[in-house]
Amino acid sequence: MDPEQLIACPACDVLHRDQEVAKHTVARCARCGTVLAAPKSGAMTRIAMLSLTALILLAAAAGFPFLELQAQGLSHRASVLDAVLAFSRGPMAPLSLATGLLIVLLPAARYGALVYTLAPMALGWHPAPHAAAVYRWAERLKPWAMAEIFIIGVAVALVKVSGLARVGLGPAFWAFAALLVVTILTDSSICRLTVWKTLKTRRGS
């Protein structure tokens, strides 16, 4: 049998015949149950649009006022950049770089990569140049894009200071909160192997 007609489960390596899977059905590995294909109509459009939304929200989160603390006549504004630069003094400076990467730059890179690879798929075009390499990076960045974890951290921090001071929430806070929802929606829509298969077939046609 031609290896091109086979698919190996990425979790347990069992070989399956690569068949056409009907829309809105899920093909799972016979041994471990890992999803091998889950084609949905309009999934590519959906992911591309969600990723674009996420990029806009990230830009808003980086640009707009984030939080304002008021206590005893004093007030202090903090932007997302201030949170990134929190560790910039002294020997902890590399952690500032890491924070900036984790909460803004890597999520932006991941969503940018998803738009770049999936928008042409959604429009029914040929894949963009280097689409495979770009999508591979999008998958590799996924665990390190932590914008949605950051907003939970913000919520915890707000509870910590709520007893001492009043905190005003700026547009950037709501942008991050919306980003949490968009991230969950995006991640639940992506079926990795289906994206790869689409990239492969479109490249061939």
Partner: protein, 211 residues
């Protein structure tokens, strides 16, 4: 050739002399280095990858020690300075009556890291020894570890936000402690340990062909 979809006998790509791609599922010839479909580097399921798991896990454990000993936060209120360690911060939240948040932080910075060390260690050991948990349960364990591990980073972000926000000159100021760095490193190292683990090895334990 036996039918790959005929249970309960399963034929894996490695057994068939082929190499399956863990990124896109494409089946490549045995000696292939890069996947023909997605151009990822191919690695046949081999117990050698466990060395990387153990190395990252050890690094994560080592970094977790100073993360607990040294202060995470230094708070100065009206000239009075106080330092909080990881556990101290949780105790303070608890004494203020914020049980829900105290529970979240306790879960993210104590329960998840410790459970993750144990889970990754168990998975790596179980590949070589007969395991008490079945293959399916161990795959679920692996997926849970991969999914939940990154959420431990919450505590580092809390420190970052508090430092950025609580800067009211003399009245109150927060500066980060060195434990924030070691905690962030510990989380990153254990994430790398989980990513280095090859779940295909879970089933190889039943066959012990790759030792």
């Amino acid at each position: 050739m036996e039918n790959p979809e005929d249970p309960p006998r399963f034929l894996t790509a490695a057994e068939a002399g082929l190499t399956g791609c863990r990124t896109c599922g494409a089946v490549n010839p045995g000696g292939a280095q890069t996947c023909y479909s997605c151009r990822s580097a191919l690695t046949p399921p081999s117990a050698y990858s466990l060395q990387r798991v153990w190395a990252w896990l050890a690094a994560g454990l080592i970094a977790y020690v100073p993360a607990n000993i040294y202060p995470m936060l230094r708070t100065t209120t009206f000239g009075r300075a106080s330092e909080n360690t990881l556990v101290g911060g949780i105790a303070e939240l608890f004494s203020h009556g914020s049980y829900g948040v105290a529970f979240i932080v306790f879960f993210a910075s104590i329960v998840i890291p410790v459970a993750k060390f144990l889970a990754i260690g168990y998975l790596a050991v179980s590949v070589r020894r007969p395991a008490t948990l079945g293959s399916h349960d161990r795959l679920v364990l692996y997926e849970v570890v991969e999914f939940i591990g990154r959420w431990s980073m919450i505590d580092v972000f809390v420190v970052a936000i508090l430092t950025a926000l609580v800067q009211l000159d003399f009245a109150a100021a927060v500066t980060p402690g060195i434990a924030a760095v070691s905690f962030a490193l510990s989380v990153a190292f254990t994430m790398l340990a989980a990513q280095s683990f090859d779940p295909r090895l879970i089933w190889n334990a039943e066959k012990r062909e790759y030792e």
